[in-house]
Every structure is written in structure tokens, then in C-alpha cells.
């Protein structure tokens, strides 16, 4: 009865989901919360925060997906974020997902939650695989040795054990399930020092939250920098506490012969081994797994690279070729919508509202949404590569090559994601532990041609190149970007960010068939972010640019003698955007850009794909008879040469990172200087490259006809 009442009281619980990378945490998260998820960021850092909701026995569970970590030290942003959430946000329960086949290693994180004294539920995930590998668990005994922490066996991708996890969460949160914390001992010497430090900290307990005193003492012995920082800020006797900690570390080092933090880590494993000794048995000595067999081929010294390049080609082919059909449909739908809305006004009307709706809103957003199929396919492919475990192999294969340009194999993953979008790619550089490696990778990422630039290439290649040449030209754009990225990385690594390459350590997860649900959720979340961008930033910018290109209007008598085309051009030239574009013409003329391109480039700063929307507005503005609307391609062909098109594409590829990139670069690098350096450096580079292309091309008479 009493537990029922407790459930009544706890109507809403915050549950943090933790676990090692590759423990199947995301699969459990998806199974727990279904599609009721939303993606945001942890405050202050751009670490992705996924929150999902589910209801169980009348209780709402807000499940927060913490970043996958091996530990709760302060050596990586992910670990700090996970730790901070658990300490500051007080989730009622932490659910730690364990890979049942690697229990000891996975329990290392669990032990650290136990040290924090947080109500814990442990999930032995992928227990089917563990069983197949011959592991047998005595769950009852293991749970008892861990202080009564509930242990739930689950198979995330088949949805097994999910109800039991929910039961355990509610049970632990409501106190129906009693947990008595087991004291973890680190050996007499360390235990004694923890006691002494805790005594020093005791007077400050209010400021540290009482149950954390021993934990803070432990962390001080581990020489944990953020904890020292915190002591310095909140403690009255900070100097005394830190001096006591330093003394303790020095004493322990002398007695034990090594850094206390290493010994403490070792003692945690000692505790785990003790608990697993009698409770985890392996009956089969399976030394070579299916994954090893696949790896023998996939990471083969000779075959590895061609297989990788082949897969990348398949991804590209699928993105562009399969995307064509839905794109045509979307294009058609928006054209129809534009005509339908335009038709609400009498023919020949020059209503400002009609122009705003048709040209500003529908054309602008349509020009962006049309690329949604491409983006969905690309993210689907990336999700499959990631979830299957291949992405880690790609990093491994590429390490040899990345090393040559002074980067880390892991830098390759953000670079691949960069082909989708620079923003998540910059965020993905968090996997790099060295700041130098991370900054170098972040700085060159905009050179990986993102999907938002694809519309620009598609527009120009479709207009200026015959069918047969479009593919190769597109491919070349990506290759040029990648080659320049390599050169830039090499340059940065030998000048501004000189230094030793960070040691390379990475886990190769076993290969797994990606789950349909997980892949679709992942793809949908990315796709939705793109749609949201189209609905907000791009819609706003489209309207702003429409206004900038429409106003101020020239006086009717100044243009009444001109033909329709001429009137259109005159109107544009007279507008704010036209004037700004014109002001820049002397600077961009050597690149072959006219003021219209400059104007559209202004839009590209907001988001690269706006360039396309802007060009379509620039060339359809002022025409009042919808049936006579000129297709954009014909307008482009009339106004530009193929050489100019290539110069514009090169400029868009290399330079002018969008404002979202600047913002994320600022927050991720922690300094506006890096963001500014990146923006100015790349734009300067783009200017020089476009200048060379246009001037040399003109001199040789290439593509000028």
C-alpha cells in the first residue's frame, strides 16, 4: 500500500540514461521512449541532449540520454556533461546501460555512479549476444554484491526487458526497492586519506551538498581539475582544503609508488572483479568472433581502402540519384502551390502581398525543401554506417592517411558528417581529445562540401553542363573541397597549431545490423532539423531578402519606357540588395560575379541554400504573369557563362561559411577569434581560388561562350 502511495506522489520522474559508447544505449533509449523525443543541447556546451518521455504505471518518466562515456573523469567534455547533469540536475534515477558481454569494463562507470550515491538501475543489454558467447550470470548474487542495485537483462533492439527497466526505475525512485549503498574500499591508505580529507571538507558540507563530501574527497585525490576549481569558488577555506589534498596525494604517491588516481581506478576494477568472480561465468572459449572475420576483409591493408571508397561512392550515388524522383514531386508541388496562391489575385495584379507570398515565401522555402530527399538519404546512409559499427573502421582505415596530414583517424568521422552539414560535424569533433587536433579539424570542416551547397551546384550544373558532365563536375566539387581541406590541415598543423598528433585510441564495436527504428529516428531527427531551419531561419531570410530586393521601388516614370525584362532589372538595381551588390561589384568583378550574384551571396551567409532561393527571386521578381515565368536555368544561361558558373561554385564551396557555422565555431572553440579566423581565412581563400579560375579560364578562353 505504502509503495502505491509513493508512486502517487512521484507523478513525474527525471531519469538519466548513461552507459559506455557502443553499449546499445541509444537502442534502449528509443525502446523506452518511442518516438516521443526531442533534441536540444546541454546548457553552455553544444553536446546534443536528447530527452524522451514515457508513461509507466501512472508515472511520467522524462528520460535524458547522457553522452556515452567510459568514465566520469574530467578528461572529456562528454564525461563532464554527464557528470554535471547527474550532480546538478538531481535525476531521481540513473539507468546505466551495460554491454553484457563486457561486463567488467562497463561496470567501471556504474561503480562511479555508486560512488556518487545516486539511485541506480543497471541494464545488462545485448544479453542475447552475451548468452550466445557463453556468458552465464547469477543476477541475484551480483545484485546483492552491488548493494541491491536492480539488474535487468534486456535486448534493446528486440524490445525485450523494457517493461522490466521501467518497473525497476519506478521501484527505485519510489523506494519500493531498497538499495543499501556498498562502501567501495580503495585500500587502507587511500581510505584513510579520504577520511581525513572528508573531515577537512565537513565544515563546507552545506556548500558541497552533504552526501557529496566523501565523493569530493575522492575526486580531490584523483586530482580532478573542475572539482578543485569548484572548491576554489565555493569554499571559505579553499586554500586549506587544496593544500590538504596536495599533501594527501604526495603521501599516497610515496607509499603506493604511483599516482593515486591510477591506483583508485585499479581498486575500482578490484571491487568489480570481486563482484564478478562468482557471478559471471563463461562456458565457451570463443576467441575469434564473426566481427573479427569481417574485419579481416574490411580493414585489410590492401582491400580496406577500396572497400571504403566504394561504400562512400554508393552513399553519394544513393544521395543524388535516388533523390531525384521525390525532388521532382516536391518541385512540382511548390510550383502548383505558387500558382494556386498567385491565382487568388486578378491577373496582372502588382499586389505586394501576392509578391511576398509567391516569391518571398513559397519560392524561397520551396527551393530549400526540394533538397530534403537528398538530405534524408544522406543522413540515412550515415546513420546506417554509424549504427552498423563501420564508421569506427573507417576511422581506423583512414588513420594512416589522416596521420600524414597531421590529423587523427577520428577526425575523419566529422569530415564525413561534414558532407551532410558542417554544424553537426563541428559538434562531432568532440571525439578528439587534443585541442590542437580538434581546432584543426573544426577549422577545415567547412571545406567538406555540405549538403546545403549541393543546391547551388545542382542549379549551375543543370543549367550549364550536358547530362553526361553533371555527375563528374559535381564529384569534382567534392574532391576539390577535400583536397583543399587536406592542404589547409597540413598548413595549420605546421604553423598555427603545430604539435604532436594526439595518441590514437578507439574501440571497434562489434558489427551489428542497424535497427530500422533506430535508423529512422536518427534520420528523422536530422531531417526535421533541416525542415525547421527551412521554416524559421530560411523563411525569415527569404522574406528579408525579398524585401531587400523589392524596396525601395524606382519611380514608375523612370522605368515605364523599358521592356518587361529591363523593368525587372531596373527595379532590382534600385533596391537595397541591388545597391549593396553593386557596391561590391568592383571587388567581385575579377571573379566574374555581377551584382546579382553578390546579392544572392549575401543570402548564402544566412544559409548556403538561400543562394538558390535568392537567385530564383532575383530572376522572377517583378514578373506579374505567372504563366510567363522564366525557368531559372534559362535565365542563368542568358546571364552567365559556364566559366562564371564554375567560379561561383568554387567560391561557394571554399568560402563564406554560413552564420550557423560561425555561431557553432564560436561556441565550440570557446573563442570568437577562431570563428572569425575561420570565416575570414576561408573567404580569402575562396576569393583567390575563384579569381584564379576565372582569370586563367578567361585567358585560355575556356567556357566563356
Amino acid at each position: 500500500m505504502s509503495s502505491d502511495r509513493a508512486i502517487e506522489q512521484a507523478r513525474r520522474l527525471t531519469v538519466a540514461l548513461a552507459g559506455n559508447p557502443n553499449s546499445g544505449k541509444t537502442t534502449i533509449f528509443n525502446a523506452l521512449t518511442g518516438s516521443r523525443q526531442h533534441v536540444g543541447n546541454y546548457p553552455g556546451v553544444t553536446v546534443e541532449k536528447k530527452v524522451g518521455v514515457c508513461r509507466h504505471r501512472g508515472v511520467w518518466l522524462d528520460v535524458v540520454d547522457l553522452p556515452g562515456t567510459y568514465s566520469l573523469t574530467a578528461y572529456s567534455t562528454d564525461e563532464l556533461v554527464a557528470r554535471r547533469f547527474v550532480i546538478d540536475q538531481h535525476p531521481q534515477v540513473v539507468v546505466d546501460i551495460l554491454d553484457a558481454s563486457n561486463l567488467e569494463r562497463n561496470l567501471y562507470l556504474a561503480v562511479q555512479f555508486m560512488e556518487l550515491g545516486i539511485p541506480l538501475v543497471l541494464v545488462l543489454n545485448m544479453s542475447d549476444i552475451a548468452a550466445a558467447r557463453g556468458y552465464v550470470f547469477d543476477l541475484e548474487e551480483l545484485s546483492a554484491l552491488l548493494g541491491g542495485v536492480p539488474l535487468v537483462q534486456a535486448v534493446g533492439n528486440r524490445g525485450e526487458g523494457i517493461e522490466e527497466i521501467r518497473d525497476a526505475i519506478v521501484g527505485v525512485a519510489t523506494g519500493a526497492r531498497r538499495i543499501r549503498p556498498v562502501p567501495i574500499t580503495y585500500g587502507p591508505e587511500i581510505d584513510k586519506e579520504i577520511g581525513k580529507l572528508a573531515a577537512v571538507l565537513e565544515p563546507e558540507a552545506d556548500r558541497l551538498a552533504p552526501r557529496q563530501v566523501r565523493w569530493v574527497a575522492l575526486k580531490l585525490l584523483e586530482n580532478d581539475r573542475p572539482i578543485r576549481e569548484r572548491i576554489r569558488h565555493v569554499c571559505g577555506n579553499a586554500a586549506g582544503v587544496l593544500a590538504a589534498a596536495d599533501d594527501a596525494i604526495a603521501r599516497l604517491k610515496k607509499i603506493l609508488g604511483d599516482e593515486p588516481e591510477i591506483i583508485i581506478a585499479d581498486r575500482r576494477y578490484g571491487f568489480i572483479s570481486g563482484a564478478c568472480q562468482e557471478t559471471v561465468k563463461n562456458t565457451v572459449e570463443l576467441r575469434h568472433t564473426r566481427s573479427d572475420e569481417i574485419d579481416a576483409v574490411v580493414t585489410h591493408p590492401v582491400l580496406g581502402l577500396p572497400i571504403f571508397l566504394g561504400l562512400m561512392y554508393v552513399v553519394f550515388w544513393a544521395t543524388f540519384r535516388l533523390g531525384e524522383y521525390p525532388m521532382d514531386a516536391i518541385d512540382y508541388a511548390f510550383q502548383w502551390l505558387g500558382q494556386a496562391v498567385g491565382g487568388l489575385w486578378p491577373a496582372g495584379s502588382d499586389s505586394a502581398l501576392r509578391s511576398l507570398l509567391v516569391h518571398g515565401v513559397i519560392h524561397g522555402v520551396g527551393a530549400v525543401i526540394v533538397f530534403l530527399p537528398n538530405i534524408l538519404i544522406l543522413f540515412l546512409a550515415i546513420a546506417v554506417l554509424e549504427d552498423s559499427g563501420y564508421m569506427a573502421r573507417a576511422a581506423f582505415i583512414m588513420d594512416r592517411w589522416m596521420h600524414k596530414i597531421g590529423l587523427h583517424g577520428k577526425s575523419f568521422i566529422p569530415m564525413v558528417i561534414g558532407f551532410g552539414c558542417t554544424i553537426p560535424a563541428i559538434m562531432a569533433t568532440r571525439v578528439l581529445a587534443s585541442r590542437r587536433d580538434r581546432l584543426t579539424t573544426m577549422l577545415i570542416l567547412p571545406l567538406m562540401s555540405c549538403s546545403a551547397r549541393l543546391p547551388i551546384y545542382m542549379m549551375f550544373t543543370a543549367a550549364f553542363f550536358i547530362e553526361k558532365w553533371r555527375g563528374p563536375v559535381l564529384w569534382m566539387m567534392y574532391v576539390v573541397g577535400a583536397v583543399v581541406a587536406v592542404l589547409a590541415a597540413k598548413l595549420l598543423k605546421s604553423t598555427l597549431l603545430r604539435g604532436e598528433a594526439e595518441p590514437f585510441v578507439m574501440e571497434l564495436p562489434p558489427y551489428r545490423a542497424p535497427t530500422v527504428k533506430g535508423t529512422l529516428i536518427h534520420t528523422w531527427q536530422r531531417g526535421w532539423m533541416y525542415v525547421r531551419k527551412a521554416g524559421t531561419i530560411i523563411l525569415g531570410v527569404s522574406i528579408l531578402l525579398w524585401a531587400l530586393t523589392s524596396y525601395p521601388k524606382p519611380h514608375a516614370r523612370d522605368i515605364e519606357n523599358l521592356a518587361a525584362d529591363g523593368q525587372q532589372a531596373a527595379t532590382l538595381e534600385y533596391s537595397v540588395a541591388g545597391r549593396v551588390g553593386k557596391a561590391f561589384e568592383p571587388i567581385t568583378r575579377p571573379l566574374g560575379f555581377d551584382w546579382r550574384v553578390n546579392t544572392a551571396m549575401m543570402g548564402a551567409f544566412a544559409a548556403k541554400e538561400v543562394f538558390v532561393a535568392q537567385m530564383s527571386i532575383v530572376y522572377s521578381l517583378g514578373d506579374t504573369d505567372e504563366s510567363e515565368a522564366q525557368p531559372l536555368q534559362a535565365a542563368l544561361r542568358r546571364n552567365y557563362t559556364p566559366l562564371q558558373a564554375v567560379a561561383i561554385m568554387i567560391f561557394s564551396l571554399l568560402g563564406f561559411p554560413c552564420m550557423a557555422t560561425v555561431a557553432v565555431m564560436w561556441s565550440e572553440s570557446g573563442s570568437w577569434k577562431w570563428a572569425l579566423l575561420q570565416w575570414a581565412g576561408l573567404t580569402g581563400l575562396a576569393y583567390i581560388a575563384a579569381l584564379l579560375v576565372y582569370q586563367i579560364g578567361s585567358a585560355l578562353g575556356l567556357g566563356t561562350g
Binding site: Y75, D295, P510
Partner: protein, 103 residues
């Protein structure tokens, strides 16, 4: 179990010197506390048995411990000090990339 020794220990060799298929017991990692802490958290700790899956010569190095497969850069593999328990390569008759017989 000696593990803190920066002092030489008989039979102590660098992981990078082992051939494919060799097994060894990890003794210590030469490096700063941060690096050692990270490796420990990933499961590469003193006392575990490791097996060389792939010694890539100049490229990265793949090793197994339990069911885990971990890639190390070349420089890292050199810093991991082990005591070999079984030689790999031709000594064991295990050709690279095929299934090893269960013990």
C-alpha cells in the same frame, strides 16, 4: 603484480613488438595520468590479457581483450608495456585473419 614500475622488469616488452596472434599480459602504460586513466576506463588496465589482432607495421594496431577490440595508434602501442604469454605469427601456426582454435 608489479605494475607501477617504471623500473625495468624482466620480460617486459612493448606491445608494438608483438606479432599477430600473440598474447600478453598488460603491465603498464608509459604516459601521463590522463592518458593512463583513459585507457584504464576503456578496459586496458594492468593485469588484463591482451591479444594482438593486427599489428599494422607502420599503421594502427588492433588488439583484443575479452570481447573488446581496441585500435591504438602506433605511438600508443609502443607505450603499452606487456609480458608476452604466447608468441604470435608463425610460432603458433595461426595465420592472420583466420579463426584461431579454441584453447
Amino acid at each position: 603484480m608489479t605494475r607501477f614500475g617504471h623500473a625495468e622488469q624482466p620480460g617486459l616488452v612493448s606491445l608494438a613488438s608483438l606479432a599477430d596472434g600473440a598474447t600478453a599480459q598488460l603491465v603498464t602504460v608509459q604516459g601521463g595520468a590522463g592518458l593512463r586513466s583513459r585507457l584504464t576506463a576503456m578496459g586496458l588496465r594492468a593485469g588484463v590479457e591482451v591479444r594482438v589482432i593486427h599489428n599494422g607495421g607502420r599503421g594502427p594496431f588492433v588488439l583484443a581483450t575479452g570481447e573488446l577490440r581496441i585500435v591504438l595508434g602506433r605511438g600508443m602501442a609502443r607505450r603499452v608495456m606487456v609480458v608476452p604469454t604466447r608468441l604470435g605469427g608463425s610460432d603458433t601456426g595461426i595465420p592472420t585473419g583466420t579463426t584461431a582454435p579454441p584453447e
